[in-house]
Amino acid sequence: MDFKLSKTHLLQQEMYRKFAENEVKPLAEEMDETEVYNLDLLAKMHKYGLMGIPYSKEYGGVGGDYLSYALCMEEVSKVDGSTGITISVHTSLCCSCIDSFGTEEQKQKFLRPLIDGSKTGCFGLTEPNAGSDAAGQQTTAVYDAETDEYIINGGKIFTTNSGFADTNICFALTDKKLGTKGISAFVVPLKDEEGNAYPGVTVSENIKRMGIRAASNCEVSYENVRVPAANRLGKEGAGFKIAMKALDGGRIGIAAQCVGLAQGALNEAMAYVKERKQFGRPISAFQTTQFKLADMQTKIDAARLMTWRAACIKDAGENYGPAAAMAKLFASDMANNVCREAVQLMGGYGYCREYPVERALRDAKITEIYEGTSEVMKMVISGAMKVNAK
């Protein structure tokens, strides 16, 4: 067992850190205030490979692994949670569905532009009435044999990146009677060749949220949206499996996002306690401060190791679902605690928007909710433990 990162990973980590510090950090506060993601930044992330890390060079990707991707997620999330989720949804939800379940032709057509920098992706599973109960999908896709197309009707909510994305993975019922086995996955363009809305697709305004406010997050409605049958990923009925598999991988990215949010907040608090003087000395001189920071760093490290372990299991081609769920469950709880403690250490200033720990605390909350709530993580973990098996 070796806990050291390889040279390749170390150099990537350095590159992601510099990119985050120089390119993301200066924009984070303003993007949060305005609730608009900076598309020049998105283009830069594409340019330097941040949007295609765990994908083969054959399709224009970086040729890295999931551990590389987790390192990137941590570094960008240290300075901006919104950038973390923007990369995550594109990479581990949208692209992974095509990479894992697409045919060679589909990979060339849909995956390549997503990872060579020309398009950005999103993932539409959650519906107003289908959250943790993802099987309760109401969006339908009806096959039209005459045109060899599917006609999609329905609506998705909380679709991250949908405000500017080009490509969406949409899950829809092809057979209502079959329950989860009646759900299929489709690659649905959100824009046509000219960049206008794809016929029948409507993307709402940004949904106002508590945190990750810079990330685009909208409702996407489908009204008689026609997509070629060739856009279906896997067989009819394979959609639920595809979604669950994508979310398993996505959770590693979210766990890494949590580690980043927490480490970023801790770093800010560390700098502050050395400067801030009360009762005649820096507050870092008080043991209560020292012990609090020691606890925070220990928890971050534990979450980081769980995240890296889940990534390594995935990279080894083994069953990573439970490890990913445990990493996300622990890391999201940890991030909320650590960011709250960072605000506490910084007192009134920590509560001000001028200091980034306030944003980190708001950003951290969603990590206990999206890509599977903490309760769903416990379902996954206890299921793998066969707690209820006879």
């Binding site: 040279k7 990537q12 590159m15 990119f19 490979g49 040729g63 890295g64």
Partner: protein
């Protein structure tokens, strides 16, 4: 066009400490980076390649750990890399270093050579010009901008304290880069994977001995003899006088006369 960039790995700090026994920089435990001016040279070389085609070769003399500086250059887009590393090269001053690097360049070949103006650890600004002298090619130091390049010439803007020069030089030639020459790009994430898949050519003394006189390299071959080195000593608190300006003038002049300054 064969473009070669010479880089140096330097400690990433202005707080370098000296070993009191050897009077040399202590590098252990200090993170290392590519020297800033050299990195601008890499970027300029890559932009030149994008303009006129060709290859960019990166060369570094240093210990085996300098490998990571070369990987970084490869990840930025350089095509191949050479590490000049040998016990015999250790302790070389600028003159000996320039002999080693220029000997390697003779073997590698070049149309344009970039070096940084100077390194942040030594600040001598000597190695680039010395390489050019050893190779017998023209040099332009303090290169701020590449204006034009043809098969036979390069036109550049050279920074001066109070002016700049536009200089046309015949190829091959050597340019020493300043940071203003080009803002270095980031490594590409995929470039990092590729960089570690590539082989870096490591040349030791044996590989260069046909073109190097062993008496001219290393600590013993270096004409520079460091007699003593020291860090800045903190000054005392000084004397504070609460007086009128006229009295202050008198007091200062008296002090200067006392110390035989005037």
């Amino acid at each position: 066009m064969k473009i070669v960039v010479c880089i140096k790995q330097v400690p990433d700090t202005n707080e370098v400490k000296l070993d009191p026994k050897t009077n040399r920089l202590i590098r252990d435990g200090v993170p290392s980076i590519i020297n800033h001016d050299d990195k601008a040279g890499i970027e300029a070389a890559l932009q030149l390649k994008e303009r006129v085609g060709g290859t960019v070769t990166v060369v570094c003399m240093g210990p085996p750990q300098a490998d990571v500086a070369l990987r970084e250059a490869l990840a930025m887009g350089c095509d191949d890399a050479y590490l000049l590393s040998a016990r015999e090269f250790g302790g070389s001053d600028t003159c000996a270093t320039a002999i080693i690097i220029s000997s390697a360049l003779k073997k590698i070949g070049y149309d344009i050579v970039f070096t940084g103006r100077q390194a942040i650890d030594g600040d001598t600004a000597q190695v680039g010009p010395q390489i050019a002298e050893n190779l017998g090619i023209p040099q332009v130091s303090y290169t701020e901008e590449l204006i034009d390049v043809t098969d036979e010439t390069i036109t550049v803007k050279r920074q001066y304290e109070d002016r700049y020069h536009i200089i046309e030089a015949p190829l091959p030639c050597l340019l020493t880069a300043i940071q203003e020459l080009a803002e270095p790009r980031y490594m590409h994430a995929g470039g990092i994977i590729d960089a570690y898949a590539k082989d870096i050519t490591v040349w030791g003394f044996e590989d260069l001995k046909d073109v190097i006189n062993p008496d001219h390299i290393g600590l013993m071959g270096s004409p520079t003899k460091v007699v003593t080195s020291f860090g800045k000593m903190p000054k005392g608190a000084g004397t504070k006088l609460e007086v009128t300006p006229e009295e202050a003038v008198e007091a200062i002049i008296a002090k200067m006369e006392e110390r035989h300054i005037i």
